[in-house]
Amino acid sequence: MTDQPPTTSPRIAPRTPAAGLREVEAHGRSVTLRNLHAYYGDVHAVNGVWLEFPPNQVTAIIGPSGCGKSTLVRCINRMHEEVPGARAAGTVLLDEVDVYRDDVDVVSVRRLVGMVFQKPNPFPTMSVFDNVAAGLRLTGVRGGDLRDRVERSLRSAGLWEEVKDRLGRPGIGLSGGQQQRLCIARTLAVEPEVILMDEPCSALDPVATLKIEELIAGLRARYTIVIVTHNMQQAARVSDSTAFMLNGELVEHSPTEKLFTTPHDARTEEYVTGKFG
């Protein structure tokens, strides 16, 4: 799939060509799912989801284990198809381009849609600096002020002050929370416009979790963020709207406050009040 020539990338027309502002690049894009289905072999993991993630908002996806929420976000940057036997059907629009269109290069999708995983996964052979630079080097970006970009990314991830004196040390020498922020810095370095977070705090202690949550609040101004979480308090704290999934289907998508106080679906109410799941 990666062999396809990058004929038309989803990097369509610049948003405001006349503005001449560097900052306009750093705006989130909207992501729209239309009748999305995802399968692992015969298992139907996501069943016909319609959902919109507005730009520069944090959307949380909650639901019990195995409800398809991770699979759903992995369809957005087409990581789902990396699993042997997995496939997806339906439409995922990045602004107005379908990322599953035949002439879209999967590599260009992933550059625009970054992802942070459940377990911190810095590259073990690389230093802190190289981990952040890895995204740029891996995508073949040459020249530019690498140092500058690494510093900016580390600052955006709230890690710069802690690691500025040990940029040359191995990335896996950091604590779990720092490693996860390092992974966020690595994602930010390639300048995505959408960031997917797949339970980014489930391997972290409460203090590290809090730091990541503060970070998410800060990143919201520049990125569209989708966060999968097991932790309903976390969804309530960080998100603007929340989607509740059950057995591969979307049950409800409402503004976060409404979903947790006056959900309109009985199953949502049962879940958020702890009656099951």
Partner: protein, 287 residues
């Protein structure tokens, strides 16, 4: 719940017996190993001298039999060429199997043949090269590079198998992280998978080299024997296993002693390689 009780005498006896049997078994297994090393060292050390390593065999029926310089250099040259062929090829096959072929039918067939090749006796590889490259007459007679080819065939499945295991050990989370950054697959392999697996790949290759360096059969009818040192892999070449094979059967005690000296040299060379392999694998990042 039952009360706390001391270990029964019967269990104590059984435990003692089982431990004793295991210890005896281990000692028995060590006996031949130690004896081999002791014998080679005892017989070989006596022949070692400066000139033993710096002169070529004379081939004279009388007088000094000379040293084994040409055999040491010949082994190094032949094995180096074999390594240059087998290691990149083997790692390439393993990369295909792990990164691209995965569960496909073709990959399963390749895996099966690699396994079969592991079990092929080394003399068969020598015979194969002898028939295809020497008897056919197309590319001349005996030559060092043909020995290298035979050894490369022998090394290929070993390198492939060990590399496949090591590459499978690279966590998928690293591949996913790199792919999610928007890296094309070949860059993920080159920048993440290979560097992470490097210590293991080196270890596996060194063990394959050690194995090939000691093989006699594939060399007997490919590079055969020679007296003089040569750097030309296109001619017949001397090698340590071939010297041992040829000299140990001689009636003259002087030549048999050369064989022992060469054997000790070979054992030490291989020992260095395996020690190196152990040291490197200890530095592996996911042991």
């Amino acid at each position: 719940m039952s009360a706390l009780a001391p270990v029964s005498p019967r269990r104590r006896r059984t435990d003692l017996l089982a431990r004793g049997l295991l210890a005896v078994g281990t000692l028995l297994a060590l006996v031949p190993l130690v004896l081999v090393l002791y014998y080679v060292a005892k017989k070989g050390l006596g022949t070692w001298s400066w000139s033993f390593f710096t002169t070529d065999p004379t081939g004279n029926f009388l007088g000094s039999p000379g040293g084994i310089k040409s055999a040491i250099l010949g082994t190094i040259e032949i094995v180096a060429l074999a390594t240059a062929i087998a290691v990149p090829l083997g790692i390439g096959v393993a990369l295909y199997l792990v990164e691209y072929g995965r569960e496909s039918r073709f990959a399963a067939v390749v895996r099966y043949f690699v396994d079969v090749m592991t079990g092929v006796p080394s003399i068969v590889f020598g015979l194969f090269i002898y028939i295809t490259l020497i008897l056919s007459g197309g590319v001349g007679g005996f030559a060092g590079w043909k020995g290298s080819l035979a050894l490369a065939l022998l090394m290929l499945p070993i390198v492939t198998r060990s590399a496949e295991v090591v590459l499978t050990l690279v966590p998928d989370s690293l591949r996913e992280a790199a792919l999610a950054l928007g890296a094309p697959r070949w860059r993920v392999v080159g920048r993440i998978v290979l560097p992470t697996a490097l210590p293991g790949l080196v270890t596996g290759s060194l063990l394959a080299i050690a194995r090939a360096a000691g093989e006699t059969a594939p060399l007997l009818f490919t590079s055969t024997l020679a007296l003089a040192t040569t750097l030309n892999l296109g001619t017949q070449m001397n090698s340590l296993p071939a010297v041992i094979f040829a000299d140990v059967g001689q009636a003259q005690d002087r030549l048999v002693r050369v064989a022992w000296g060469a054997a000790l040299t070979l054992v030490l060379m291989i020992l260095v390689l395996t020690t190196l392999a152990r040291l490197i694998s200890r530095r592996s990042r996911f042991a």
